[in-house]
C-alpha cells in the first residue's frame, strides 16, 4: 500500500522533534480522522533584515499524531523546506510532497495537504506576530 520511501520516512522520520526557540510555529488538525501536525521553523540570522519571503528556513522540525502517511508527509515536507526561502517553501504543494514520497494512496492525499497547511500556518502566525511587535494577550 505504501511506497518504500514512505515506509522509510515512517520508520526513521527526518527532522522530528521540537525547536525550543523557534521563530514560527504552526499547528493544524484534521477534523476528518483526528490527525494533528505541528511545525517549528527557525530562520537564518544572516538575513534577518530581509523581508519574510526572502528569509531562509535554516531549521525545521515537526511533531505529528497520525497515520504512516501523515508522519512520512511531514518528514518529507521538512526535507523539502529546509534551506529554502519562505517564498520558495510556500510553493511546495501536496503533489510535490506526494511525488517526493514516490506516491501516496488516494485516501492519504489529505495527510500531505495537512503538512503543507502546517507550514502555511506557521508562516502566517509569524507574520501576524511581526505586525504586532508587542503581541496582544
Amino acid at each position: 500500500m505504501y511506497s518504500s520511501i514512505v515506509l522509510e520516512h515512517f520508520k526513521n522520520p527526518h527532522n522530528q522533534g521540537v525547536i525550543l526557540d523557534a521563530d514560527a510555529v504552526g499547528q493544524v488538525g484534521n477534523p476528518v480522522c483526528g490527525d494533528i501536525m505541528k511545525l517549528y521553523l527557525k530562520f537564518s540570522e544572516a538575513d534577518k533584515d530581509k523581508s519574510l519571503e526572502e528569509r531562509v528556513i535554516e531549521d525545521i522540525k515537526f511533531e505529528t499524531l497520525g497515520c504512516g502517511a501523515a508522519i512520512a508527509s511531514t518528514s518529507m515536507l521538512t526535507d523539502l523546506a529546509k534551506g529554502k526561502t519562505v517564498a520558495e517553501a510556500l510553493k511546495i504543494t501536496k503533489q510535490n510532497v506526494a511525488d517526493a514520497l514516490g506516491g501516496l494512496p488516494a485516501v492519504k492525499i489529505h495527510c500531505s495537504i495537512l503538512a503543507t497547511e502546517a507550514l502555511e500556518k506557521a508562516v502566517k502566525n509569524y507574520s501576524a506576530s511581526l505586525e504586532r511587535p508587542s503581541p496582544a494577550v
Partner: protein
Amino acid sequence: MQNIYFDNAATTPVNKNVLEVMLPYFCEIYGNASSLHSFGQEALKAVDEARAKVANFLGCETNEIIFTSGATEADNLAIMGVVFANNYLEKKIHIITTEFEHPAVLETCKYLEKQGVEVSYVKPGSDGVIKVEDIEKEIKDNTILISVMYVNNEIGTIQPIKEIGQLVKKINSERITRDPSTSSSLRSDSARDDTLRQIYFHTDAVQAALYCEMNVENLGVDLMAISGHKIYGPKGIGVLYIKKGTRLQKIQHGGHHEFNKRAGTLNTPLMVGMGKAVELIQTRDLNKIKFLRDYLWQELQKNIVDVSLNGSWEDRTPTNLNVSVQGVEGEALLLGLDMAGIAISTGSACSSGSLEPSHVLMSIGLSHEAAHGSLRITLGEENTKEEIDYFVQQLKQLAEKFRQMAPK
C-alpha cells in the same frame, strides 16, 4: 524477522487436515454433484457427508443446511430472502438489527431500507452487549425479522442470542393466539393477516463458531450464518442454516441446487473442507487461547500506561482483545508492528478507506480519540507465550515513540 499472526478474526489459516481432505476433489473426484453418473454420484456422496457434519455441528437436519460462497452471501440470503418472501413492495414491513453488525448485515439492511423496508438499529450498551429489552422495545406488529450477530467481530463481545431466541418464541406464540380484531394496529385487514405472521430470528454467527454454543435448537434461531475461513477452513464457503418451514425466497437464480434455495454448481472441495473444519471444532483447546489472551491483557496493563479495554471483559470470546492506546494512532501502530513482523488490526479512522472510525467502537460510545488508538488482537491456536512477550515489548516501544512524536 518474526512472523506473528494476531489477526485470527480477519481470517484463519487452513488446517492441514482440512486441506488434505479437500485435495482429491479437485483433480480426481471432480464430477458435478448434480450428475447422475458415477463421477457425479461420488462427488455427491462427499457433499452429503459434509452437509451431515455441518448439520451435526448445528444440531439440525441436513436439508436445513445451505452452502453458500461465504457468510456475506449467507447473511444476504437470510435477510433479503425473508423480506422478499413477504411481499415487501406492497406492505410496510419492519426488521430489527443492531448498530454494530458486520457490513454483510448492516449494508443489506440499509439497502432494504432504501427499498422501503422499515429498519430499527438497536444500540449496544457501552460494554458492547445488546440488551434483550432494547430489542423487545422495537418489536411492532409488522416486525418480521430480527438479525443480531452472535459475537461482534471487532470487540469479541457475545450477544444474548438464546435470550433473544426465547423472546422471539414468546412474541410468536402471542401472535398466533391473538385475535386479529383486537389488534391495535390500524392497518387494513388484508395487511394485518400477513403482519401477524411470525418473526424470524437470524444471527450472523461467524465469530462465534469456534467458541460458543452452536445448537440452533437451544439458541432458538431460525437462520444462522457461518463462514469457513474463520474456523480454519477455506475461503469462499459459508453456510446458512434455514429452519424448516421458514418462508424464504431465493436471491440467486439458476438451477435447483441446495434445495432450490441457492443456485450454482456445488463446490465439492470447499464443502468437504467446511465439513472437516466444523468437525475439528469439537477437538479444539480453548483454554490455551484464553490463557494467552488473559496473559496478554495483564502484560499490556503492566507495561504500557493509558491502555483501556474496549467492550466487556466477561462476555467476550477467548480469542479477542480490543484496546485503545491513548495518544497514538492505530494505523501507525499497525504499520510499526508489521515492520516488526506482527499482524494485528485497528479501528482507527486513518486505516479505513472512508476515514470514518470503526462503527462498532462508535456504537459503544468511544470517543474519536479512543477509536483512533484502537487495536484488535485476535489469537489463534498456533500462538505462544513468547510471541505475546515479544509483541508487548514491541508495542511498548512503538507507543513510546509515537507519543514522543506527537504534539504536546
